[in-house]
Structures are given as C-alpha cells and as structure tokens.
Symmetry: C2
Subunit: 524 residues, 2 copies
C-alpha cells in the first residue's frame, strides 16, 4: 500500500486560517517546538509573513519566552506545542505565566480527530493536562471551527483576568480546507475603575490608623507607579507584592517596599497596619507552610479591602484614589546614585552594585536568581530606568526563557538575566535560542553550587540540620557545573569570574557591546 | 514575630513512615528533585539507610531514570517531585513510563493541608495534572494515612497493568508524628495465563492460513522470547511491537521482525496475514495520522485475537501456546557474527556495525536516536547478549535518563545511550547525574543537526516541500550544538568524530574502560 499524498495545497487549509486569525488578532510571534502533528502549521508559516517563528529546543523555553514576550509587549504571545508531552514540558512556565497574568495562547497539535480513538503512543488527555495552568481550554473538532476558536483563544488570554489560554488543534483540522476566520472584533484590555469602590476605599483609608496600599500586577508599570508616587508623597505607605510580573524601576520611579518573602518577616512588617488595600495584588500568604507558623500574612485585626478584583489593572483606580484623597504631584526623584566600583569577594551585594552602575536606560532584568536576587533588586532601586521581571509562580527555570521573550518584544533593549545555577539548569537549552536569534541578552549565573534556598528552607521547616544524605541533595557542586563550557556548547560566548572587580569589568563590557554573553559569577 | 522551630525530631514523623513503607515494599532508590515542601522527606533520608537518593537537576531526568530503573530492576522505582510544576516537568517521561508499563511511584510534595486554601504562588491542582499519566492517584489528608497510602501506591504501580502511580503528600503529612506503616503484604506481578484462552488461540492459529504472533511488553524479555523461538522454530511468524520497553537480544536470542514505524510499510508487511495474535502488544495503529491514510494497521479481513490482556506478561501464555501447538525446542542460535571495522563516512549504519562489534555481553542499550535508531538495531541482532530499551511513548528526551536508571539498577552492566541531538536537548541535565554518580554510561549523540524525523514527516503529512520558514524550524544546526563542550559543562568527558573508523576506535575504547563518556557522532 502506498501513501497517497495530496497535491501542494492550492486553497487555504485550517493551518492557514489559524495563522491568519492569529495575525489578525495582533499576534506576531510564535515560539515553537513542533512535531509531526503540527507540520501543517509549520508549513503554513511560509504563507503567513506576519508571524515570526522562533524555534526553541525544549517546550519550557518556548512557554517562558512567550511569558516574557507578553509581559514586555503588553499583548498576547503564542506558543506551538506537540501533543500532551509537549504541553507538559511547557507547563511549569505556563504556571508561572498564569501567576503573572500573562496573555499566552498555547496551540497544541493533537492527533487527527479520526485518530484519537486509536490510543496511539503519543496520545493523552491534553485538555485535562492543560486544566491546571489554563484559564481557557477548547479543542477544535472540525476545520470550520479553527478561525473563530483562535480569535476566542486570543481574547480569552487577554481576560480579564489575563492568562494562559489553550487551544488543542487535531492535525486534520489543520490540513483540511477551511473557511477564513470571521472578521476580527476589536478588543483591548483596559484598567479597571469602579469609582464608587475607590471612593469607599478612600473613606476607609482616611478612617484607618495605619493603612497600607499593596500594589501588584499592572499597577507596577509606570502609570500605576506614578499614581502610587502621589499617594506616597501624601504620606500613605505603599508596598508591592513579593514577585511582580513586571515592575518599572530606576530614575524618577518610586521604589516601594517589597513584601518580604519569609512569612515571619512579612508579618512583622505588616503588624502595625490596620487596613490593607489591595491594588492588583492578592491577599498576602506565606509562600510555603511551616510547622507552627501562620499561612495568612494579614495581621490579626487588619482589614483587607480590594481596590480592584485580583488580576485587574488598578492603575486608573490608583490615580483616581490619589485624586479623591487630594494627593498632589510627587516630589521629583533624586539623581542616579554614583556608586564606587566594588572590590573584594564576589557576592550578590557586589553584583547588585555592578548592575546598578552599568545597567543602561531602558534595560530589562529577568530575575530567577532565588537567594541571589534581593541584594541586586535593592541595589538597583536608583539605577537607570529599567523594568524588572520576577519569578511569579515559584517554578524555577523561568529566567532565561523570559529574557528571550523580553528581548524579542523590545529589540532595542538590553536584557539582563539573573539566574541561579540551580534554576538555570531547568532550561539551559534557552541559551541556544539566544545564540540563534542573536538576542541582546546577558545571562548572569549566580554559581553558588547549591540549592542555597533549600539549605535555608531545610532549617526553617524544622527539619533540623542536614545529615550527609540530605546535604548531598542540596549540593549541586559535585561536580561543579562549568557554565562557560555549557554556554559554548549552546553557541554563546562566556566568561567566569570570582571577585567583585572582575565581575564589574565583565558586566560593564557586556553592557557596552551588543549581542549575547554569559557571565558565570562564582559566589561564596 | 519569630518562627518557632520544633526540636530535632525524636519520634517518627510522616516522612519517616513514607520512607520506611517504601523500603518495606522493596523500593531501594529515590530519584529526586526536591523543594521546600519535600524537606522533611529529604531529612528523613538520613534516618533510612535502605533508600539511596539520586539527585537530578531536572524532574524529567528523575522520572526517565525511574522508568529505566524499573525496566531493568523489574521492581518499582520511586521519584520525589516538587508540587505541580515539578510534576509537570517530569510528566513527559512519566507518559513514556506509562506506555512502557513501568512501575514508577511518584511522590509529589504539596503545600500543607492547612495551606492549600490560600492559593500560594506554587499551588496548583496536582491530582488533575497527574491524571493523564498515572494509573493511580491519591492525596494524603493526614499523617495517619501515609504508611498505607505508600504501600497502596507501590502495589498499584505493579498493576496489572503496571504503570505510574502518584501519591500527593502535603507537607504537614510528612512533618507531623505518624504511626508506623501496616505490615507489608506480599505482592508480586506474575505472568498472565488463562489456559482456555490459550487453547482457543491455538485452535485459531491452527485454522488460520497465515497467523502472526505480535509480541510486546514482558514477552520480549528472555523467558518470553525462548517460548517465541519454539513457535518460530515450528514455522509460526513472530513479530514485535515497534517500540518495546525492553527486549532481550543478541547471542542465542531470537530476533523477530519488528513492526515497521511508517504505517504504509507496516500495512504492506501485515497484508498477507489473516490472524493477528496479540501477546502483550497493543493492536497496531499508525504512530501519527496522515491525510488519506488509515489509522489502524490491521489489514482488512484480518482477525485480531489477544492472548492476554494488554499490558500483561504473556511469557507463560506463550510457553503454554508452544506446548499446545506441539512446538519442540528451537535450533541453537548462530555464533556472533564477525564484522569488519567500518570505514568511510560516519552513518547510522556504520555506527550500528561498531556497536555490534564492541558491545560487551550483558550491556544495556537505551535508544532515543529516532531516525538513527533502526540501522543500529538491525546491525546488533547478532551482537553479544544485551537488552534494548526503546522510546515507548514518543516523548523524546527519554534516552539519557533511562540510561541513568538502567545503570543504577544493574551496576555491573555497560550502558550505551543512543540519542539524537534533538532528543538529547530535552534532558541534557542528565549528563550531570551520570558524572555525579560515576555511572558506567556511554552516551552516543547522533548529531545530524536537524529534527531529521520531522523533515521526513513534513513531506509525509502532505505539507509539500519546506519553504524557508518551515525549513528553519526543522534545522537545529544554526548554531551547531557543541556536545563536547556540553558534556564538559556537566562534568562528563567527551570526544567528537565524523568518520566511521574514528567512531569505531572511540566506541571500542569506551566499551573497554569503565565510567562515563560522551561521543558526538557527526553524521550526514
């Protein structure tokens, strides 16, 4: 029996309609790790020049890149994944994207509808797999559906609340002729504003002894922070959630306190407040449970009042709140601090000073450095104007992929990825896409050769001191990863250093020249 | 507020009971990538010397290693994963393990029961996530449950059918005091034999014009193949499923035809048969759907008759079938063929000859080489006695992890991993665990610098010839991955070669000396 191949396709097939509908809805980039069941979508890329495909060697790279793209572009990103295992490989960074409220559309190729009942080796229940990290899931059942379903998926990813949307595309829905997508309806996410709710909040704030405004989500972009600066200028305390998806920072941007990661520190910090107003942030809870420690971080007797529903853009509501509370314009920010070159031992603190010294205006920082992160965050509060992208969902391995997406969304920006050696090893393949696309991404590896956070958490959970078996599971230094070799293997040039002034010189050079580079920072 | 830490634990907590129940059920190895919510299980490892922890830097390495361990040890393997994202990262290789009918117990640490309602950043619906690739799922709700649940998980993983079992362990179920596990009940999987069913099959076989016995699963281990050799000796045609979990091969072992991967070739091969007897194999279906091609590979008019239910060990049934059909002992196998050293261009064929020449007796081959695989498989039919582990579920990235597990299950065996450069990049972190544990694993990278299978599948799906955009998505040679550098980065020594006689010399050396090595085979 011979396989009968149809002629090269003269009429539009489902795959063309999928891409056309994506482009029509404003999607211009497709982060892809395709397989056989997506081949017609791959073929259709040659007929749809409005979509740029970006190949990733592992699905977690593609989904993380889509998240970074969505955060910086402010519009939906798209990934192409191969059946259930492909979705699973990308799911951890989709979990992070869900926590970031990032509009990410996952297109998952599945077996043809006619093939599904056969339980072929790659078959699995993709819709169930996708449920945990998708706000919206649909499966196309025939080619006629795909145009509208793509439009719905893009709209669903925008929310509110924004987040991952998953469209499962059986292969025969992409290879069979299909009608063009319906006319694209206009849609846009806009900030949430309920004037009565804001006025009520203002009254509560006035009545409170010590109110705190906790900002999260879109409120941490420039517009929301301008409003927050007015409120802070009038004496109201502002803080941000611990892991914002994107925060505007640096020159002339208010640098609010950040909620502490460790619950007991956060509780102590929040203890004086009798009112917590949530502006896009979720009610604060401990990241993990510990024996004999509370899970909620709201102090006893403190009232919690949402300004907008969770996951909504509260920037307009904050500005209106500042109006209602009669806040004037904030004082102008101070100039960028001149910091001396750090010397001596290389530490997260010295790295922070170097980053603050050399970060160019308009840079983007993607932070997955775990224990190395906070000192750099603190040091860069008065650096040049930049955006800071945090690990939102706790699934490490996000940093480099998010940096890829950010660089593609903002080609003119210098992207700095801060990642732990433990975290970086979840998605090391991301280095290859940086090389292939020649992205202006600098990756700093905090090489402490351990799961340092776990060494801390081990003691905090009351497990005592690690014995030899436990200590071995927290130690990734045997053998030590050679990040210069790893970078070279992926086609990225790299250097290593273990003292503060060498790092400062390497980082300065990396900021001054375009193109990819990895710096292995061997820290104590 | 200060965190109150309990004293170092004097009495057994849930974590101790978990490990004790595992050890009592015969589990001796724990492939782990733990996080904060698993810290008490990590701590308890220092109190349970019967369990060997093996650290992996990515969960897909841990689950693939567990699969390889289970295939070679023939008893349950165990992995320790961190919440939903950790499970997701390991899910693709659990999908493969499910298709391999491998007994793998996943212990997934979750937030404490008291913490679940707070929707902390790492929270997700783990039970739903795990549904697609688990035969059994339970969640502990209190410390009293954990001993029995672990025993049930291990028993469930044994089946029949064997496969992944997932036990979700909230952190407070591991840190709180817990009673010891109940007495361990004896359990063992044994081959399935229904004498009446076999006798009926024998009658059908006698009545058929051209019967075919299609073997799968446990029937491809030595015992089942001995019975198959008797049937083959009596003139009955034997074939195997395309991707067996484990097949005994080499000197004195029958080498049945293997079901073809491409559907049209398989259909042509099966066309003469009027009866298909399934001995542990599933009814044959096309791996993927293609336009105008059938999904089922059973020829029209051919009757299908299972000898045992799918996923069961049919070795006893095959032996009894040979008795009923009056088959004698098979002729002794021929001697190992003496093959001349290959020269000239390095190809999968020449690699096959080198592997056949030098593979030592008792070796294990873990095969994830995709298009490079078949020529090596064919060439090694008469090599020294070895076991061949295939990619069972189509989710590439299984080869190196499965090699880790196989090496740990059989410390005396030389393990050879055959993997594509595309496939190898899904779980490159596995090289680090090979170095750390100093495993006797040789990794051969088939570096064709493309997703070669997709180049073939692209044309087969009727998508025409790849244009520039499509071709770019099938090409992973820009930049070329430098596997020698990648291996060095992970602590594994490596060499590259691009002609047949260099490969032959490198492979011979790798077979002669113990310990890890990677060979980058740059093939046309």
């Amino acid at each position: 029996m011979k396989l009968t191949l149809p002629d090269a396709e003269p009429e539009a097939v489902g795959a063309d309609v999928v891409l056309s509908a994506l482009a029509g809805a404003g999607v211009d980039t497709l982060f892809a790790n395709p397989g056989t069941s997506e081949m017609h979508l791959v073929a259709a890329l040659d007929r749809e020049p409005r979509i740029r495909p970006v190949l990733c060697l592992f699905e977690g790279v593609a989904t993380g890149a889509a998240d970074g793209y969505a955060r910086m572009a402010g519009r939906p990103a798209c990934v192409l994944l191969h059946l259930g295992p492909g979705y699973s490989n990308g799911a951890a960074n989709l979990h992070n994207a869900r926590r970031a409220y990032s509009p990410v559309v996952s297109l998952v190729g599945d077996h043809a509808v006619s093939h599904r009942h056969l339980d072929a080796p790659l078959a699995s229940d993709i819709a169930t797999l996708a449920a945990a990290s998708s706000n919206w899931i649909r499966t196309a059942e025939e080619p006629n559906d795909v145009g509208l379903l793509v439009q719905e998926a893009v709209a669903a990813s925008m929310g509110p609340p924004a987040g991952p949307a998953t469209l499962i595309l059986p292969a025969d829905c992409t290879w069979a002729p299909a009608p063009p997508p319906p006319p694209q309806r206009a849609f846009a996410s806009k900030p949430h504003l309920d004037a009565a709710q804001v006025e009520a909040a203002a009254a509560s704030i006035r009545a409170a002894r010590a109110p705190l405004l906790l900002l999260g989500g879109k409120a941490l972009e420039e517009k929301g922070l301008r409003a927050a600066a007015r409120l802070a200028g009038a004496g109201y305390r502002i803080a941000t959630e611990t892991f914002p998806a994107r925060q505007a920072r640096g020159t002339n941007i208010i640098a609010p306190d950040r909620m502490k990661y460790f619950g007991e520190l956060a509780l102590a910090d929040l203890a004086p407040h009798d009112l917590l107003v949530l502006a896009g942030a979720a009610e604060p809870v401990a990241f993990f449970a510990y024996p004999n420690a509370p899970g909620s971080l709201v102090p006893p007797g403190c009232r919690v009042l949402p300004l907008v529903p969770a996951g909504r853009d509260s920037s307009d509501a904050l500005a209106f709140l500042a109006d209602v509370l009669g806040c004037g314009e904030p004082p102008a920010g101070g100039p960028k601090l001149a910091l001396a070159e750090p010397t001596g031992q290389l530490t997260p603190q010295s790295i922070g000073i170097s980053v603050a010294r050399h970060l160019p205006s308009g840079a983007i920082v993607s932070d997955d450095a775990v224990t190395g992160s906070q000192p750099v965050f603190s040091a860069t509060a008065s650096a040049a104007r930049h955006d800071w992208l945090s690990l939102t969902g706790g699934a490490i391995g996000q940093g480099i992929p998010v940096g890829i997406g950010a660089a593609i969304a903002q080609p003119g920006a210098k992207v700095v990825v801060l990642t732990g050696d433990g975290a970086g090893m979840y998605t090391p393949q991301s280095l290859w896409t940086i090389a292939r696309e020649n992205l202006d991404v600098i990756v700093v590896i905090f090489a402490n050769r351990s799961y340092r956070i776990l060494d801390i958490e081990y003691r905090r959970t009351g497990a005592g001191r690690p014995g030899p078996a436990a200590a071995a599971l927290l130690d990734i230094g045997n053998p030590a990863l050679d990040w210069v070799a790893l970078a070279k293997g992926h086609g990225v040039s790299a250097a290593t250093c273990s003292d503060a002034s060498s790092f400062d010189a390497l980082f300065a050079r990396a900021m001054a020249q375009p193109g990819p580079m990895l710096i292995e920072a061997v820290i104590a």
